[in-house]
């Protein structure tokens, strides 16, 4: 039962990824796609399939899985089903750091920018963690999210100001800042994509400890979990996943909220089962949203944030309605 659910999910992800190669402004037959992948002859169609569709599909898969896992990890640590890198301001922190480094210090090395993004993400996560810790449980999940959204608004405004002041870098930055899976720098994908996959896999062994944490801090300690260390470790992992996702695709919201929610609907609260499902659902949603951006307003292309918000906002509403959210963790 458990295995078969996972199998179907993996199959769905694969099918969506395949569909993503065929669908768009130009529709291709499976034969055309197969030929383009196996015997490319440099025609325009080949370039579209191998040069545009394959990279954007990979970006959607990797970033989707990464952000979804990041959301799941944050939700576990904060014990808050609304926690995710977008709503908590972590994406905004990473973007802000990258803009500062790129526009003001002229940093363009990928390693340096990735580290900056990581720094920004970690800083925001640490601030949120400090806020939660300082209230010792008095902060309800709803209030925590409000604080995160406000932090995101603040960092977003700062970023906006910086981008306007620094005219020269504006064009490239604006495109990246809008967030999306299409036309991303493939060099960044090849460098950071494997890292994200690795981090997603590395998160899995924490499943038992996170299950223990879900039962409460005291119980978790009694079960031999070093709660503080676990939280730091998991939050570091979550920040890194969000930060690298931001470096590849710009800030993308709601995936980290929706994917873990759907995974829980599917399989319950067991983290060992949640991890692979969340990652696969995140990857599927990423690809699905990317396909939607190409089809919904064709011949134009809709922003991925809009597509994800159309799904994410209603799910956010469903989650807010949960009675338990105002009673505190």
């Amino acid at each position: 039962m458990m295995r078969s659910g996972l199998f179907w999910l993996a199959l769905l992800t694969g099918l969506l990824a395949l569909a993503s190669l065929h669908l768009g402004l130009r529709f291709y037959t499976p034969a055309q796609v197969f030929l383009a992948l196996t015997q490319p002859d440099g025609s325009a169609d080949d370039l579209i399939i191998t040069g545009l569709r394959v990279p954007r599909t990979l970006v959607a898969l990797v970033v989707g899985a990464g952000l979804a896992t990041s959301g799941l990890l944050m939700q576990a640590v904060f014990r808050n089903p609304l926690a995710e890198p977008g709503l908590l301001g972590v994406n905004a922190g990473a973007s802000f750091a990258v803009v500062v480094g790129f526009a003001f210090f002229g940093i363009s090395s990928l390693t340096a920018l990735s580290l900056l993004a990581l720094g920004g993400a970690v800083a925001v996560t640490a601030a949120i963690f400090a806020l939660v810790a300082s209230f010792r449980g008095a902060l309800t999940p709803v209030s925590l999210i409000l604080a995160g959204v406000t932090l995101a608004a603040f960092l977003g405004a700062l970023t906006q100001v910086l981008v306007v002041i620094d005219e020269g870098t504006m064009e490239a930055l604006l495109f990246w800042l809008a967030g999306g899976f299409a036309d991303r720098d493939t060099a960044i994908l090849w460098a950071l994509g494997p890292v994200i996959v690795l981090l997603v896999v590395l998160a899995a062994p924490s499943a038992k400890a996170l299950d223990a944490l879900a039962t409460g801090e005291t119980t978790a300690s009694a079960l031999g979990v070093d709660v503080f260390r676990l939280r730091l470790l998991i939050l570091g992992l979550a920040s890194a996943l969000a930060a690298f996702g931001v470096v590849i695709a710009g800030p993308v919201g709601f995936l980290g909220l929706v994917a873990p929610h759907l995974a829980r609907q599917m399989t319950g609260l067991d983290h060992a089962r949640l991890f692979p499902r969340t990652a696969l659902i995140g990857a599927s949603l990423g690809v699905l949203a990317d396909i939607a951006t190409r089809l919904v307003v064709a011949p134009g292309e809709a922003p991925i944030t809009a597509m994800l918000a159309l799904v994410g906002a209603p799910i956010l509403v469903v989650l807010i309605r949960d009675r338990r959210l105002t009673t505190g963790p």
Binding site: V296, T305, M307, I320
Partner: protein, 333 residues
């Protein structure tokens, strides 16, 4: 009452900021020349620049700030919590949906509007009203929990933003650029027409509110006590909420959503003049107008000759203030 410095300071500060705002531009015009031109004297060139180029923009900023501030005041009264504001209840983005739909439906092939631009605020009001209703319906009995209510607002705002983006892309290029101008929350494409429409909306609502000021004081009590003072609580809330929607929509249709003004201004005004609705109805619009104008002045000076988005400046002040309010409320249970 009128002797209180809190009552006099906001209009004075607004006056100073106005003279300064008129002076700022591609050429600086000093206060004496500004005042002279305003009263119909001084160089003809100054008069032309000031009356046709700079004054409409300044007036629009003032009116938009006043309208957003008043809307915030009303919402904070209805919710009985100082963290409420139009931008977080989804009304601002709802109004944007109304505006984009309006531009979408009533444009001809040549991208010219087929109906008068005077109908724009109505479309914005309808959009804002729909989203306000949606938030309230979704919230149901959560209305009494401001934090949760705001989160519903944030969810609906995200939905509205997505709709706006999709609608803009589906529309032709011209419409996209008109729409994007005010989405950025700026006031630099102002005309006297816009000023007059927004001014009339604001004046009408303000007069109505002054007549209703007793209700605004009663509503501060809890529902039962307010009812005992002879107030029909539900009707009053609905009325104040509708005014808030109209004011927000008016501001959004001509100046874009200027973030956080509706949150900060009523709080500053309350610190200045206290809780009485009469005094607040006087002070809040001035504070809101001064905030927007001050932010707009800053936006034009800081990176001169570049111009920052006014909404970004107000967000930089407003976001920390919101966090402060939130943390304070959590501390005090």
């Amino acid at each position: 009452m009128t002797r209180q410095p809190g009552m006099i300071a906001p209009p004075l500060i607004l006056g100073l900021l106005t003279v300064m705002a008129i002076g700022i531009g591609s050429s600086w015009i000093g206060p004496p020349r500004v005042l002279a031109a305003l009263f119909g004297a001084g160089a003809e060139m100054d008069q032309v620049i000031i009356w046709t180029l700079r004054l409409p923009r300044v007036c629009l900023a003032i009116l938009a700030g006043a309208a957003l501030a008043l809307a915030g005041l009303l919402l904070q009264r209805v919710v009985r919590n100082p963290i409420a504001s139009p931008s977080v209840l989804g009304i601002v983005d709802g109004a944007a949906v109304g505006v984009v739909l309006f531009l979408w439906i009533w444009s001809d092939e040549a991208n010219a509007l087929t109906v008068s631009i005077h109908w724009l605020p109505l479309a914005a009001t309808l959009g804002a009203g729909c989203f306000a209703l949606l938030v309230l319906v979704l919230a149901g009995r959560d209305v009494v929990q401001p934090a949760r209510l705001i989160l519903y607002g944030i969810a609906m705002a995200a939905l509205a933003k997505a709709l706006v983006m999709v609608l803009i892309i589906l529309g032709p290029v011209y419409r996209a650029s008109t729409a994007l101008i005010w989405l950025a929350g700026s006031v630099h494409a102002a005309h006297w027409d816009d000023v007059v429409i927004l001014g009339v909306v604001l004046a009408v609502v303000l007069v109505a509110l002054v007549l209703l000021r007793l209700r605004m004081d009663q509503i501060l009590l809890d529902d039962v006590s307010a009812g005992a003072t002879g107030l029909s609580v539900a009707a009053s809330k609905g009325l104040l909420l509708s005014f808030a929607v109209v004011l927000t929509a008016g501001a959004v249709s001509f100046a874009g959503g200027i973030a956080f003004v509706g949150l900060i201004a009523p709080n500053i005004a309350r610190a200045l003049v206290g809780l009485r609705a009469g005094a607040l109805l006087w002070a809040t619009p001035f504070v809101g107008a001064a905030l927007v104008l001050g932010a707009d002045n800053l936006a034009r000076i800081v990176a001169f000759p570049l111009e920052l988005p006014t909404g970004a400046i107000t967000a930089l002040i407003g976001a920390p203030y919101f966090l402060f309010l939130l943390v304070r409320q959590v501390r005090h249970g």
